[in-house]
C-alpha cells in the first residue's frame, strides 16, 4: 500500500466512523432499503430529534423499565408488494417481524397491537385472509393481539393494504445482550440459510422470467432465541434480525458499534442453491438480501459450540452455521475471505435493489 492509498483509506474510515448526516432534498426509495441511505435518515434526522437514550442504542427493540420490570418495546410497518408470496403474506410478516425484533432484545413476546391502513376497493376476502394470517401467526408465536386501529384511504393512495404492529415483550432474565460488547475472538453465527425472503418476493413480483421454488423464511424466532439463552446465555453478546440490508448490514452495524473488525468465511455461509442461482443471475449478493426468519448471533468463543448445537435443535434453524470471527483490525470493517481464496470488504448496500420487501 502506497502512502497515498493509506492516507485515502484513513480519510474514508474517519468519515465512515462519524454519524451519517441527512442531507437529501427528497426521500427516495433508497431511504427505505435498509442500507446507507436508511442509516442517514435514522441517525441523521430521527435519533438526534428525540434525544432518547433507549433510542440511541439502535437495537431491534428498545429496553424500557417500568416499575422494575424489564420490558422490550418495538414497532414496525409492513408495505410488502405483493401482499401474498410463496411462504407467507403481509399478515404473517407483520406478526413475525415485530415478534422477532422483541426476540432480538432477548424478550419473550407478550402482546401486539395491530394497525391497518386499507385502500378503498380492497376485496373483503383479501382482508379476511390476512386477518386470519395474523391470527394464525400470533397463535404460533404465542402472542396476543391486544389493541388495534383501522384507517381507509382513497383508491390509489395506498397499495391494497399496509399493516403496522407494535410489540411488547418481557426481557428474559438469562439475557445480557448489547451490540457494543463484541470483542476479538467472538464467533459469528447465522441461524439458517440466507437470502430466501427477499429472493422469494422478487420472484413473486413476476418481473423476471425466472421459475424457481423459493419460499420466504418468515417465522417467529423466539423459540431459537429461547434455546440460545438456555444453552449459551452467559456467552451471548448480541442478536440481530437480518432483515432489510441482509446479513451484511447487520455485521457492519455491529462492527462499528463495537469498534471491531470481522472476518467472514464465504464458503461457510449457508445459501440454498435456488437462492444462490437467482442471486447470481440478478447480480446480487445473498448477504445483502432481506431475511424474515434468520438472525445473526455474536457469541463468546467458549460458548459457540453450545450455541450452534442449541440452534440446530430448533425447527427452522437446523442449518445454523458459524460464518466468521471477530478481530481487532481493520476497525469497524467486515472482510470476507471469498470461496476463491481472496479477500474483500463487505459493506452495507448503497442502492436499492428491492424496494418494499417487508
Amino acid at each position: 500500500v502506497s502512502t497515498r492509498e493509506a492516507k485515502v483509506l484513513g480519510i474514508i474510515e474517519t468519515a465512515r466512523s462519524k454519524r451519517p448526516k441527512f442531507r437529501d432534498e427528497r426521500i427516495t426509495m433508497a431511504h427505505g432499503a435498509g442500507g446507507k441511505a436508511t442509516s442517514s435518515l435514522i441517525e441523521g434526522l430521527l435519533v438526534p430529534a428525540f434525544a432518547s437514550p433507549a433510542l440511541d442504542a439502535l437495537g431491534d427493540a428498545a429496553a424500557v423499565t417500568v416499575a422494575g420490570a424489564p420490558l422490550a418495546l418495538t414497532t414496525d410497518s409492513f408495505v410488502v408488494k405483493p401482499i401474498r408470496f410463496p411462504g407467507g403474506s403481509i399478515g404473517e410478516l407483520a406478526v413475525n417481524g415485530t415478534v422477532n425484533d422483541l426476540a432480538m432484545g432477548g424478550a419473550r413476546p407478550v402482546a401486539l397491537t395491530l394497525s391497518l391502513i386499507l385502500e378503498e376497493g380492497l376485496p373483503a376476502d383479501v382482508l379476511r385472509e390476512e386477518v386470519e394470517a395474523v391470527a394464525r401467526a400470533a397463535a404460533t408465536a404465542e402472542v396476543a393481539i391486544v389493541a388495534g386501529d383501522t384507517k381507509v384511504v382513497e383508491r390509489g393512495h395506498a397499495d391494497q393494504m399496509y399493516v403496522c404492529t407494535t410489540g411488547l415483550g418481557h426481557v428474559d432474565g438469562r439475557a445480557a445482550l448489547s451490540p457494543g460488547t463484541l470483542r476479538p475472538g467472538d464467533r459469528l453465527l447465522v441461524s439458517g440459510p440466507v437470502g430466501a425472503h427477499g429472493t422469494a418476493i422478487m420472484l413473486a413480483r413476476g418481473e423476471f422470467e425466472l421459475d424457481a421454488t423459493i419460499v420466504s423464511d418468515t417465522r417467529s424466532l423466539w423459540p431459537a432465541v429461547d434455546a440460545l439463552l438456555e444453552h449459551a446465555g452467559a456467552g451471548l453478546r448480541c442478536l440481530r434480525d437480518a432483515t432489510r440490508g441482509g446479513v451484511a448490514s447487520v455485521l457492519n452495524e455491529l462492527a462499528r458499534a463495537s469498534g471491531v473488525a470481522m472476518l467472514v468465511k464465504e464458503s461457510e455461509v449457508p445459501v440454498d442453491p435456488a437462492v444462490a442461482g437467482a442471486a447470481e443471475l440478478l447480480g446480487i449478493d445473498p448477504m445483502h438480501v432481506a431475511n424474515e426468519g434468520v438472525f445473526v448471533v455474536a457469541v463468546a468463543p467458549e460458548c459457540a459450540g453450545a450455541a450452534l448445537a442449541a440452534l440446530r435443535e430448533v425447527a427452522g434453524a437446523e442449518r445454523a452455521a458459524e460464518i466468521g470471527e471477530v478481530h481487532t483490525s481493520p476497525t469497524g470493517m467486515v472482510l470476507v475471505e471469498t470461496a476463491f481464496g481472496g479477500r474483500r470488504v463487505m459493506d452495507q448496500l448503497v442502492g436499492d435493489p428491492l424496494p418494499r420487501i417487508c
Binding site: 497515498r4 432534498e25 481472496g342 442502492g351
Partner: protein
C-alpha cells in the same frame, strides 16, 4: 451453482497462481489492462489480486457502460423523463448517475415516472400494457447489450407498437481502445480482452492491438479462474516473445462472433460521426444511433432533448480512471467528496466502475494481516 462454481474453485486458483509466479520475470513490473468493467468487478469481488505476485499489476480499463455516459446525455434522459405522459425505463445503475442537475432517481422522487428494467424487452412489455403512455428505453452499453436493444426495436416495429422509443447511447469498444493505445501517458504490457463484447463481435476486431501496437490480448471469461488463466496466457506470450489475440473464453466466444447479432445490429443501428465519452471527450465513429429505417422509434427525434454538452465537474477524474492512468484512490475526490452514497463521477456509481469496485470491495490494506 453449476457451470459457475468450477470457475471459482480455490484449488484451481492456487495452481494457476503458482504457475503465474513461475512465468513472471522477476524484477520486471508488468501492467495488464482488463478492458471490461465486468472483469474489474470480478477482480475485486473475489480478491483476485491476493493471488497475484506484486509485480503483476492489473489496470482497469474503459469497458464500463454506465461509466462512459457523459453528463449531457444524463440530462437529456432526465428531460425525456419529465415530458408529460412518458415512462422512462433504464437499467438500475443508470438511475444514480448524476447529471448537471440531479439524477434520474431524484427526478423520480420529484414525480417523473422512471422505472428500472432488467432488459429492453421489459420496457417493450410496459409499452404494450400501458398503451396510453409513451415508453422510452434509455439504452446504454457496448456491443454486448446492443443486440438485445436491436431485437427489441425489431419486435416493436413488427408488432406495430407506436408508443415505444429508444434513447440510444450504445457505443463500440474498438475506438476507445485505439484512443487509449494512442495516448502517450500509459504504458501497458498486455490486455485482458472483453469477453462479453467478443461473444458478439468475435475476437477478430481485436487483432489491431497486436498488429498495430505490439501488445498481446487474451479474450477472457469473467470468473476468477478465467482471469487468472488469462493473466498466465499473457505472461506466456510475453515470455515466449509471442504477440497475438488468444481466446481463453472459447466456451462462449467464437472467433468470428455472432453473425446473426451483427446482422441485426447493422439493420437497426448506424454509426454516429462522433460521440462524447465521459472524461474521454469526443471519439469518432464510436457511438450508435438508430438507423434511418428505425428513425420513427428514435426518442431523440420524438422528443425535444436539450442535447447540450456539459463539462464534467472540475474535480472529477473519471477520464483518467477510465484510461487506467490513475488508480481510483489517486483521484482527488475519491472517498471524500465522491462516495457511492454521493457520487460525483460515473466510475463511483456503476458496480462495474473501478472506483465503486475498489471502494466497495477493495478498500483495505491487502498486505496488512487481519488480526
Amino acid at each position: 451453482v453449476k457451470y459457475v462454481d468450477e470457475f471459482r474453485d480455490a484449488a484451481l486458483g492456487r495452481t494457476l497462481a503458482a504457475e503465474i509466479l513461475g512465468a513472471v520475470e522477476p524484477g520486471r513490473h508488468l501492467k495488464i489492462m482488463e478492458v471490461c468493467g465486468g472483469h474489474t468487478h470480478s477482480i475485486y469481488k473475489y480478491g483476485v489480486d491476493d493471488l497475484l505476485p506484486t509485480n503483476v499489476e492489473l489496470v482497469h480499463g474503459p469497458g464500463c457502460p454506465v461509466c462512459v455516459i457523459p453528463m449531457g446525455r444524463v440530462d437529456d434522459g432526465i428531460a425525456i423523463a419529465r415530458e408529460p405522459g412518458v415512462i422512462l425505463t433504464c437499467f438500475g445503475d443508470m438511475m444514480r448517475v448524476p447529471g448537471s442537475d440531479g439524477t434520474l432517481l431524484e427526478a423520480k422522487a420529484e414525480g417523473a415516472d422512471v422505472r428500472m428494467v432488467y432488459s429492453p424487452l421489459d420496457a417493450l412489455r410496459i409499452a404494450k400494457s400501458e398503451p396510453d403512455r409513451e415508453v422510452v428505453f434509455f439504452a446504454i452499453g457496448f456491443e454486448t447489450t446492443a443486440p438485445s436493444t436491436a431485437l427489441t426495436l425489431k419486435r416493436a416495429k413488427a408488432e406495430g407498437i407506436t408508443n415505444f422509443s429508444c434513447f440510444c447511447n450504445h457505443v463500440t469498444i474498438v475506438p476507445p481502445l485505439r484512443a487509449l493505445l494512442d495516448s502517450p501517458d500509459l504504458r501497458l504490457d498486455g490486455f485482458i480482452g472483453p469477453g462479453h463484447v467478443s461473444t458478439v463481435v468475435g475476437a477478430r476486431p481485436l487483432e489491431f492491438i497486436p498488429a498495430d501496437y505490439g501488445k498481446p490480448v487474451v479474450v477472457s471469461g469473467f470468473e476468477p479462474v478465467d482471469i487468472l488463466q488469462s493473466v498466465l496466457m499473457i505472461l506466456r506470450q510475453l515470455g515466449e516473445g509471442r504477440c497475438e489475440v488468444e481466446n481463453q473464453y472459447k466456451r462462449v466466444v467464437p472467433y468470428e462472433g455472432n453473425l446473426r447479432a451483427l446482422e441485426i445490429m447493422a439493420e437497426v443501428f448506424a454509426l454516429r460521426p462522433h460521440f462524447e465519452w465521459r472524461g474521454l471527450g469526443f471519439i469518432s465513429h464510436s457511438g450508435l444511433r438508430l438507423s434511418d429505417a428505425y428513425a420513427d422509434l428514435d426518442a431523440e427525434r420524438r422528443f425535444a432533448v436539450p442535447g447540450v454538452r456539459v463539462a464534467d465537474p472540475k474535480a472529477c477524474q473519471c477520464g483518467e480512471v477510465l484510461k487506467g492512468v490513475i488508480k481510483p484512490y489517486e483521484c482527488k475526490v475519491f472517498g471524500s467528496a465522491c462516495t457511492p452514497e454521493r457520487p460525483i463521477g460515473t466510475c463511483m456509481v456503476s458496480s462495474e466502475g473501478a472506483c465503486a469496485a475498489y471502494y466497495n470491495y477493495g478498500r483495505f490494506a491487502r498486505e496488512r494481516e487481519v488480526v
